[in-house]
Symmetry: C2
Subunit: 317 residues, 2 copies
C-alpha cells in the first residue's frame, strides 16, 4: 500500500495483546484512528468495546466476505461505514466447495491416506462406497440475510457459481430462499427440512446471522440421511453442534468443512473420521486473490479518505 | 448371474496359482472353456500362453475399459472376440479426474493432512499457493488408439465429460489428437510438446498402446512447467518414469494419480509428497457401476452363447 491521504499504524496483533494494551504500549492517541482494517484470521468481535476505545472510528474495512464478527447495529448507531471484499472470493470458494463435495463423495482424502499408510492397496478394501455424483441432488442455500438489507449478493453469487459447476457433473440443483427468485429456474424451497428430505447434499453458501444460525439442525441432518453430505464454506454455526455426533454415528454420510467454531482449533473428534475432509479455512487463499484483496482494502480506504463511497460497502440501515 | 446357455467355472485366483496349476488342480479339461471373464484387479497379460492353455477360447470379456493387458493381435489371429465395458465407467472416472485435478490445485489432501496432524491450523502456514482454477488452461487428450480401429470412443467420451465439467470452472480446454475433429470446437493440437507449453494441466484420458506409451515424457513435463498439474486416470505408462523425479524436484507442480505401474504397489517416493494425490485405482468403483458392470459381463456372455455380437465389442481387424 502507498497511502496518500492517510498513514497506517503498527499492526495490532490480536493474539498477544488486547486493543487497550496495544494502544497503551504504543502510546497511541485514540482520536488519531479513523479507520480500522480487520483481517479476521482469528475473528475477534468488532463491537462496542472496540468502538469505545477508538471513539473517532468512521470506517471498518474487513478483508473477509462475512461480517458476522462486526456489530453492524452499533456501526449504524455511530455512523461507522463498513466495507468487506464484496464477491472477490466467490470463484475460489466455489472451487473449494465443489472440491470438498466431490472429495467427500469420492473419498479422495481417505483413499489417499489409505494408500500412504499401506504403501500398496488392496482393491476390495479400496472400493469405497460412494454416491454416484450424477445421481445426487445438490442443494444450494441462497437465503438472504434477514438483518435488513445487508447485501448478501456475494453469497448468492457464490451459490450460483457452485451450482453452475455442479450442474456440469449432472447434479440436479434445488435452492432455499425466503422468496422464490424469478431469475432462478432451479426448484425452489422455503422449508429447510423439506429441502433436506429431497437432497443428497447440502452446500452452505449463506452468511451467518440470527436467522441462519443452526439452520442445519439435527432434524435437518436426519432428513438428509445417512448417505447425505454437507459442505460448509460459510461459518461453522450455520450447522448445529450435533454435526459432530451425526458424523460419528453415521446419521449423515460425510462432510467437507472449511470453517470451524473455535478457529484455528478443530474439534478433536473430527480428526479420526474418514467421512470428513478438513480444510483449514483457506478456500479463498490463493496468491492472486490475496493480492486482489489487499488492493481492494486500499481502494476502500482511498475512497473513504477522499470522501467517496466505499467500493464494496455493507449497507447498514 | 444366472446363465442359461453356459456354466461358470470356479474362479481362477490369479494371485496364488498360475493358470496351468489352476487347471490341473481342478482337473479341468482345457477344451471345455470357450469364454474367459477377466477382472483385471491385478492385470495379468492375456497372451499367447493363456490362449495355448485354453485352446477352445472364443471370447474374452474384460471388466475393464482398457484392453492393454490383452494381446489383441493374437486374439485376431485365433478368431477370439474381445468385449470390454464400453463407456460404462466414464461418468465416474470423469468425476474422479476432476476431483483429482481440483484436489491437487487446492491442496485439499495436504491441507486435510496438515489439520489432522496439528489439530489446529496456523493460517499463514495453511495458505497454500494454489493456481486459480478459473485461469488455467485444461488439456484433454483424446488421441485415438493407433492400433488400427480399436474403438477408443470411451476415452473420447471420458475426455468430453471431463472437459464439460471443467468448463463450468471457467477452464479453457485444448485437445490433442492425430486429426482435428470437426465436431469439437476446442483449440486443436497435434503436437504434445506444443500443447503442454500452452497448458497448466494435463488430464490423461487416453488408452495405453504403443503410440501413447510415455507420451508425457520429461520434455513434456518441463514444458508444462513447475506449476503444471498432471492427472492420470488412464494407465501409469502414459507418463514416463521421470514423473516421480519431476514431482520430487518440482519440475511440475503436482499430480493426481489413480493408476500406478505395479499395482497394487505404489512407488514409495510418492508417499511423502504433498503435491500428489494418490487414488487407489478406484475411480470407477461405485456400487452402482459395479452392479452395472456385472450385468454387462453377463449380457456379453449371453450374446456370445446365443451367437450374437457382443454388446460392447473391441473391434479387431
Amino acid at each position: 500500500m502507498s497511502p496518500q491521504n492517510y498513514s497506517l499504524s503498527k499492526p495490532w496483533n490480536v493474539n498477544s495483546l488486547t486493543l487497550e494494551q496495544f494502544m497503551v504500549e504504543n502510546q497511541y492517541d485514540p482520536s488519531m484512528f479513523q479507520a480500522l482494517i480487520f483481517c479476521p484470521l482469528c475473528p475477534l468481535p468488532i463491537n462496542k468495546m472496540v468502538f469505545q476505545l477508538l471513539p473517532c472510528l468512521k470506517v471498518v474495512v474487513t478483508t473477509s466476505t462475512g461480517v458476522n464478527h462486526i456489530d453492524l447495529s452499533e456501526c449504524q448507531c455511530r455512523g461507522i461505514q463498513v466495507a468487506n471484499v464484496g464477491s472477490l472470493y466467490s470463484e475460489d470458494v466455489a472451487d473449494v466447495a465443489v472440491a470438498l463435495l466431490i472429495g467427500v463423495l469420492t473419498s479422495i482424502v481417505a483413499a489417499d491416506r489409505f494408500v500412504r499408510a499401506t504403501m500398496q492397496f488392496d482393491f476390495p478394501q479400496a472400493s469405497y462406497s460412494k454416491i454416484v455424483l450424477s445421481d445426487f441432488v445438490g442443494f444450494f442455500d441462497i437465503l438472504r440475510a434477514l438483518v435488513k438489507d445487508i447485501k448478501s449478493s456475494r453469497f448468492e453469487a457464490l451459490a450460483w457459481k457452485v451450482a453452475k459447476r455442479l450442474e456440469a457433473f449432472g447434479c440436479i440443483i434445488l435452492y432455499l430462499s425466503r422468496k422464490k427468485k424469478p431469475f432462478i429456474t432451479y426448484p425452489f424451497y422455503s422449508n429447510m427440512l423439506e429441502l433436506a428430505s429431497n437432497s443428497d447434499a447440502l452446500v452452505l453458501c449463506c452468511p451467518l446471522n440470527e436467522e441462519t444460525r443452526h439452520m442445519v439442525n439435527k432434524e435437518v441432518m436426519l432428513a438428509l440421511g445417512n448417505k447425505g453430505v454437507i459442505v460448509n464454506v460459510g461459518r461453522w454455526s450455520l450447522i448445529d453442534e450435533e454435526l459432530v455426533n451425526c458424523l460419528i454415528e453415521g446419521h449423515i454420510g460425510g462432510a467437507g468443512l472449511d470453517v470451524f467454531e473455535n478457529e484455528p482449533n478443530v474439534p478433536q473428534q473430527l480428526l479420526v473420521l474418514d467421512n470428513v475432509i478438513l480444510s483449514p479455512h483457506n478456500a479463498a487463499f490463493t496468491n492472486e486473490t490475496f493480492m486482489a484483496a489487499t488492493q481492494l482494502v486500499e481502494d476502500n480506504l482511498e475512497a473513504f479518505f477522499s470522501n467517496k463511497s466505499p467500493v464494496t460497502p455493507i449497507k447498514l440501515n
